[in-house]
C-alpha cells in the first residue's frame, strides 16, 4: 500500500507543478504592466520602474515562478491590485459560498442517485426501471444552469418557498445562507444524480451476474446477502470513479450556476478579475480550482486502492 500511496502522491505533486507552470507562463506572457496599472497612465517612467523593482517584476521568470510557488505554500497568493486586498483572503471569502455549494450538490446527488440506481437494478426490466432510466436520460441532457432557472420559476416565483437569488453571509444569518444555497445545489445535483443512477444500476447489474455471486449463492447465501457481502465492493469501483470526476466538475459547475442565482462565489470573482485584467487574482483562483480538481482525483485514487487490493499492485507497476 505504501509504494502505491507514494506513487500517487508523486503524480499529484508533478501534476500540480506542471499546472502551476502552464498557468504562470500563459498569464505572464500577457501584455499589460501591473506597475503601470497601479500608478495610472500619468506616472513617470522612473516611478513605474521603481515599483516594478519593488514588486519583484524585474526578476527573471524562473525566480518569480519559484517565489510565487513558495509564497502560495505559505498561504501568500499575492496582492490583488484592483481590489487592494490579499488574493488569499478574496478567494477564501468566495470559497465560503462555492465549497458548501459543491459539497451539498455532491451529497444530494448521492442521496438521490444511488438509491434510484439500486432500485432500478433490483427491479431490472420492470416499469420502474424503464421509467427511472428514461428520467435519467433526460437528467443527463439538462444543462444545470437551465434547470436552475426552472427551479426558480417553480419554487421562487410560483410557490414562493425560497429566494430566487442572492446570498446572505454565513455570519449574518446561517439559516438564510442555507436557504439561498438550496435551489443552486439541487440545480447542480440533478444531472449528476442522473449519471450516478445510471452508473450504479449498470455496476449492480454486472455484479449480480458475476461468477463469485453464483458461488456465494451456491454456498447458501440469499441474493441480498451475496450482493452485500461480495458485490458491493466491486460495484463501488465504477461509482467511485464517477464520483471523483463529478466533484471536480461540480466545482467548475458551481461557477456557471452561481450566475443564475447571483451568488458571490469563486466564479463571479474570476469573471470580475478577467474583465479588470487582475492577473494575479485570476492566476490564484485558477490554481485553487486546479488544486481542488487534482486533490479529488488523488483522493479517489487512494480510495480505489483501499477498496480494491488488486490495484495497489497493478496500478503501482503501471
Amino acid at each position: 500500500m505504501i509504494p502505491y500511496v507514494l506513487k500517487r502522491l508523486a503524480g499529484f505533486v508533478a501534476t500540480l507543478l506542471a499546472a502551476a507552470a502552464v498557468t504562470f507562463l500563459l498569464l505572464d506572457a500577457l501584455p499589460g504592466d501591473p506597475a503601470r496599472f497601479i500608478l495610472g497612465i500619468n506616472a513617470s517612467p522612473e516611478a513605474v520602474q521603481a515599483l516594478r523593482l519593488q514588486l519583484g517584476l524585474e526578476a527573471p521568470p524562473l525566480e518569480r515562478f519559484i517565489r510565487w510557488i513558495g509564497g502560495m505554500l505559505q498561504g501568500d497568493f499575492g496582492l490583488s491590485y484592483t481590489q487592494g486586498a490579499p488574493v488569499s483572503a478574496l478567494i477564501a471569502e468566495r470559497l465560503a459560498v462555492t465549497f458548501p455549494l459543491a459539497l451539498a450538490a455532491m451529497v444530494i446527488s448521492i442521496a438521490i442517485g444511488l438509491p434510484l440506481g439500486i432500485l432500478a437494478a433490483r427491479r431490472r426490466g420492470s416499469l420502474a426501471d424503464t421509467g427511472l432510466m428514461m428520467l435519467a436520460q433526460l437528467g443527463v441532457a439538462v444543462p444545470n444552469f437551465w434547470f436552475g432557472m426552472l427551479l426558480v420559476l417553480l419554487f421562487s416565483v410560483t410557490l414562493r418557498w425560497l429566494p430566487p437569488g442572492g446570498f446572505v453571509p454565513w455570519d449574518e444569518n446561517a439559516w438564510g445562507a442555507i436557504r439561498s444555497l438550496v435551489l443552486p445545489s439541487f440545480a447542480l445535483a440533478l444531472p449528476q444524480a442522473a449519471i450516478l443512477a445510471r452508473v450504479m444500476r449498470t455496476a449492480l447489474v454486472d455484479v449480480q451476474s458475476a461468477d463469485y455471486i453464483r458461488t456465494a449463492r451456491a454456498k447458501g447465501l440469499t441474493m441480498g446477502e451475496a450482493v452485500w457481502r461480495h458485490g458491493v465492493r466491486n460495484a463501488l469501483l465504477p461509482v467511485l470513479t464517477i464520483l471523483g470526476l463529478q466533484f471536480a466538475f461540480l466545482v467548475a459547475g458551481t461557477i456557471i450556476v452561481e450566475n443564475v442565482f447571483y451568488l458571490p462565489g469563486l466564479g463571479r470573482l474570476i469573471f470580475t478579475a478577467i474583465s479588470e485584467r487582475d492577473l494575479i487574482l485570476v492566476r490564484g483562483a485558477i490554481i485553487v480550482l486546479v488544486v481542488g480538481v487534482t486533490l479529488t482525483m488523488l483522493v479517489v485514487d487512494l480510495l480505489y486502492g483501499l477498496v480494491d487490493p488488486r490495484l495497489r499492485v497493478r496500478r503501482a507497476s503501471r
Binding site: L30, M133, W146, R198, M200, L245, F249, I256
Partner: protein, 287 residues
C-alpha cells in the same frame, strides 16, 4: 442476405436508435437550413414587436429586442453544433494519433502521454476557457479550443485502449513480420478497427460539447453577440425570464432535445456495432 441488409434491419428494430438518429438529423437539418433561410431575419431588432407571444405572427414569439426566437434558435443551433463539432475534430485529430502512438511505441513515450493525459484532466473545459479568455478575449473560437483541449485526452484514451487490445492479435504480428512499419500498421490495421469505438465516443463528445458550449456562452466566455448560440440565448433570457419564461424555456428545451437525441443515437450505435459493449452510464460529465 447481405451484411448491409442485416445492419439496416437490426438498426430499424432498435427504436431508441431510430428516434435518436431522426432527432439528430432533424436538428442538423434545421441548423443547416438557417444558413440559407430563416422565417425572419436573424437578429433584426424590432422593438415594436418585442415579447410577441408564442404561435402568433412569430411561431416561437420574440425576445426583449423583438428578434424572432425561431430564427435565432435555428442559427443558434448552427453555432452550437459547429462549436461542438470542431471541438470533436480537435480531439480526434490530436487525441487519436497520440493514443495510437502510445499503444504502439510503449515505454517512456507511453508513460509521457499518459501523464500529459492526466495533466489535461486537471483542467476542466471551463478553466481552459477562463485562461484562453484572459489571454485573447472571449469568443466562439475560445469555446471550440477549450472544449477541444478537453476532448484530446478522452480520444487518446479510447484509441490507446482499443489499440492495446488489438496489438497482441495475430494479424498485427503477421503485418509486422511482413515488414510493415509501425506507422503503416497503425494506419492500415489498427485505425480501421478502432474506428467504431472512436465514432461512438465522438457522438458522446458531441452531445457533451453542446452542453459545454451552452455553459460557456451562458457565462460570457463563448459565443459573443451579434452571433447567437443556444447558450447565448439563455444568457440574454437570464435577467428577464421571471417575467417571460418562454425566453428561457425554448432554448433550454432545444438543448435537451438535441442532447437526448445524440445520446440515444450514440447508445444505439454502440449496441449495433458491438453488443458486448451494451453498457449504460459511461462517464458523462460536461463543462
Amino acid at each position: 442476405m447481405s451484411i448491409r441488409d442485416h445492419w439496416a434491419g437490426r438498426a430499424l428494430r432498435h427504436p431508441s436508435f431510430v428516434i435518436g438518429l431522426l432527432g439528430t438529423l432533424a436538428f442538423i437539418g434545421l441548423a443547416l437550413l438557417s444558413a440559407v433561410w430563416t422565417p425572419h431575419v436573424v437578429d433584426r431588432v424590432n422593438i415594436a414587436a418585442r415579447f410577441a407571444p408564442l404561435f402568433g405572427d412569430y411561431l416561437l414569439g420574440t425576445d426583449h429586442l423583438g428578434r424572432d426566437i425561431a430564427s435565432m434558435l435555428m442559427r443558434g443551433a448552427l453555432t452550437s453544433l459547429t462549436v461542438a463539432a470542431v471541438a470533436v475534430g480537435i480531439g480526434l485529430v490530436i487525441g487519436v494519433p497520440l493514443g495510437l502512438a502510445a499503444a504502439i511505441v510503449g515505454g517512456p513515450f507511453e508513460w509521457l502521454i499518459l501523464r500529459v493525459n492526466d495533466f489535461l484532466f486537471a483542467f476542466p473545459a471551463l478553466i481552459v476557457a477562463v485562461l484562453i479568455t484572459t489571454l485573447f478575449g472571449p469568443g466562439a473560437t475560445n469555446a471550440m479550443l477549450a472544449i477541444g483541449i478537453f476532448n484530446i485526452p478522452v480520444f487518446a484514451r479510447v484509441a490507446r485502449g482499443g489499440a492495446l487490445s488489438l496489438k497482441s492479435l495475430d494479424y498485427v504480428a503477421a503485418a509486422r513480420l511482413a515488414g510493415l512499419s509501425s506507422l503503416a500498421i497503425a494506419r492500415k490495421h489498427l485505425l480501421p478497427n478502432i474506428a467504431s469505438l472512436v465514432i461512438v465516443q465522438a457522438t458522446i463528445q458531441l452531445s457533451l460539447g453542446i452542453l459545454a458550449e451552452a455553459g460557456l456562452s451562458y457565462v460570457g466566455l463563448g459565443t459573443q453577440p451579434p452571433g447567437t448560440s443556444l447558450g447565448l440565448m439563455l444568457r440574454d433570457a437570464q435577467s428577464i425570464f421571471l417575467l417571460h419564461p418562454h425566453l428561457a424555456m425554448v432554448p433550454g428545451l432545444a438543448i435537451m432535445f438535441i442532447v437526448v437525441s445524440l445520446n440515444l443515437a450514440g447508445d444505439g450505435l454502440r449496441d449495433l456495432i458491438d453488443p458486448r459493449l451494451r453498457k449504460e452510464g459511461l462517464p458523462r460529465v460536461a463543462a
